[in-house]
């Protein structure tokens, strides 16, 4: 079977920076900056044609590195990657004819051109006939709510409007394979919803369109993707449909607690029956949010007792259905934040 995207044991290591002429680093700085960074570590995935595939992981997990390699921007250190059957390292040109990419949270664009001109120009690089391109741009400008700004110079657009323009740039060439790297990052709720709906409709309504979506929004991945790979520190931890991933921990029990801010959580790790847990602190309310993945409900009383023994108040306790975040916590022992 041929895949739209396939990687085999893909590894990417970024060399550490060497500043030969800079002052000597302190030990802390050296720990932080020097030495190679393994962004991808033996990643093997197969994405079928027509699939909306999600790559879910926290910041720095290796999602963008993977997309850069697949989009022919970056060479792998070892392993292989194929897009539309072509090797990204050896044969990038036929790949480029069939792909496009959009990265969220960035404000790229030629400021002296209008939004329409910017998108049109990129479509010309792909050989889209000018008349077809202009019709598509007008349609997409309406869909993404940028019609009123179509003739505004890009330098006059807000960050969100530029992001919408870049989404249009991604779709105007009607690629077979689209790489969306955190496409809704920083967008308002409504704009994010429009983008999600458009992407879903684009994949579902046309045969053979494939999307690789990276995100760290659990709900986005859950709602949109046919399959999801969970990635952390460059490694794929699991890869399946959202339902199947959640089923993996359905035998376990998820409890969420809101308590007065706590610091000492070491005791939770050693508690029998606690498979994993995560802690996030809300500085605004001075409270902590704890998520526990438990083998059963047995340890709940002990957890509550431990918290109250520290003089902390439990504000809420909730047993919940597992989410993708719970899957991640169960595997890694921490949340995304």
């Amino acid at each position: 079977m041929s895949y739209a995207v396939e990687t085999r044991d893909l590894t990417r290591v970024f060399a550490g920076k060497k500043h030969r002429f800079r002052r000597k680093r302190t030990a802390d700085e050296a720990d932080e900056h020097l030495g190679p960074v393994t962004a991808l570590d033996g990643v093997s995935i197969q994405i079928r044609e027509g699939e909306l595939f999600g790559m879910l992981g926290p910041n720095g997990a290796g999602k963008t590195t993977l997309i850069k390699i697949l989009a022919t921007l970056l060479l792998p250190t070892s392993g292989q990657a194929f897009v539309a059957g072509h090797d990204v390292a050896k044969d990038p040109f036929p790949i480029r004819q069939r792909i496009n990419m959009v990265s969220g949270g960035e404000t790229s664009g030629y400021g002296l051109l209008t939004a329409r001109e910017n998108v049109w120009m990129f479509s010309q690089f792909y050989g889209v006939p000018s008349r077809v391109s202009k019709a598509r741009i007008d349609e997409l400008m309406h869909v993404f709510g940028l019609w009123d700004k179509r003739d505004a110079k890009v330098r006059m657009l807000s960050t969100g409007q530029r992001q919408k323009m870049n989404m249009i740039r991604g779709f105007v060439t009607d690629p077979d394979i689209l790489f969306l790297d955190e496409p809704t990052l920083g967008l308002d709720v409504n704009a994010a919803r429009i983008i999600r709906e458009y992407v879903l409709n684009w994949v579902r309504s046309q045969k053979g369109k494939t999307v690789l979506l990276t995100t760290h929004y659990m709900a986005e991945a859950d709602q949109m993707c046919d399959r999801i790979a969970i990635i952390d520190k460059g490694k794929i931890l699991a890869c399946d449909t959202p339902e199947a991933l959640k089923r993996m921990i359905r035998t376990e029990t998820t409890f969420r607690l809101e308590v007065d801010a706590i610091r000492d959580t070491a005791s939770f790790s050693s508690m029998q029956g606690v498979k994993n847990f995560s802690l996030t602190n809300d500085i605004g309310t001075n409270r902590s949010h704890l998520t526990f993945i438990l083998e059963d409900e047995g340890p709940v009383a002990e957890i509550l007792s431990l918290i109250t023994s520290q003089g902390k108040k439990v504000h809420s306790l909730q047993k919940s259905e597992p989410t993708l975040e719970d899957v991640f916590i169960s595997m890694v022992g921490r949340g995304f934040e």
Binding site: R96, L112, F125
Partner: protein, 284 residues
């Protein structure tokens, strides 16, 4: 071939928009005329200083030599910097390089296309400077009809060499951070001194002459001056060569530099892709 032409056409359009679209058309036309005229006055000032230092009686041939050389140097400064800064500006300023790079184009041709508008704008500036010199500063220019084909051929080859050198610098800039724009400013400075722009190579020490004769632009400036002002009679180190030989030397060196530019550009591109520097941005 279709990909190359498509790339060139769109990149040239983009370059032209970037160069001309920053203001109203009428203001752009005024700017395009005033800038080279102002440059001509700087040349007059330089000449006055030279005369005051060395030749109190003045030397019209030397002034014409200096004036023509500097007029054509407008191409060097503009095209070299314009070519070099395509990667830097797309990467750092517009942050579009990743999307241009992953599109199905020839990135080499894209840079040539972007530089094409610099050639067009510079051609206008060179023409204005020369006309101003002829009509207001008594610069001696006598381009005969029979010399026009050779002049056009020499100009085309000279511009090819310039683009090739610019693309070599572009290949290097794939791997460097934004502060290396000094490279694109320093290299033209070297050409200004060693290529017979301001003064003939014959006044340089032997090592300076050797450097000058190794740079194709020297031949371009020499033959351009010979064709535009055949009566100048200034001694250069190339005086012994006839026009065709110099044109041939320019042709051979432009082919060599074109091949070199592909090699350096592709090498720079490969190492940038390997190191993850194609779309790097610097935060300092």
């Amino acid at each position: 071939m279709n990909t190359y032409w498509r790339t060139f056409k769109v990149a040239a359009w983009l370059g032209w928009e970037m160069d001309s679209n920053w203001t109203e058309p009428w203001l752009f036309v005024i700017y395009s005329v005033v800038k080279p005229v102002a440059g001509a006055f700087i040349l007059v000032l330089m000449y006055v200083v030279f005369v005051a230092i060395g030749r109190p009686q003045g030397d019209p041939a030397a002034f014409s030599y200096l004036y023509i050389g500097n007029s054509f140097f407008i191409f060097v400064a503009s095209v070299l910097f314009g070519t070099f800064q395509v990667i830097q500006s797309d990467r750092e300023w517009y942050q579009t390089i990743r999307y241009v790079y992953i599109s199905p184009i020839s990135y080499y041709v894209y840079i040539v296309g972007r530089a094409a508008s610099k050639v067009a704008v510079s051609s206008f500036a060179v023409a204005i400077t020369l006309l101003f010199g002829v009509f207001f500063l008594n610069v001696s220019i006598q381009l005969s009809w029979t010399a026009i084909p050779m002049f056009l051929a020499a100009t085309a080859l000279g511009l090819t060499v310039l683009l090739a050198i610019g693309i070599c610098l572009g290949g290097i800039s794939f791997l460097t951070a934004k502060h290396t724009h000094g490279l694109a400013e320093g290299i033209p400075g070297l050409f200004y001194v060693f290529c017979g722009v301001l003064f003939p190579l014959s006044v340089l020490p032997s090592w300076g002459r050797a450097i000058g004769q190794g740079i194709p632009l020297t031949y371009w400036f020499d033959i351009t001056r010979r064709l535009l002002a055949p009566s100048l009679g200034v001694d250069t180190t190339l005086t012994g060569y006839d026009d065709l030989t110099i044109l041939l030397l320019l042709l051979v060196s432009s082919i060599a530099f074109f091949a070199l530019s592909i090699l350096i550009f592709k090498t720079g591109e490969y190492f940038a892709r390997k190191a993850g520097k194609i779309d790097m941005t610097t935060s300092y």
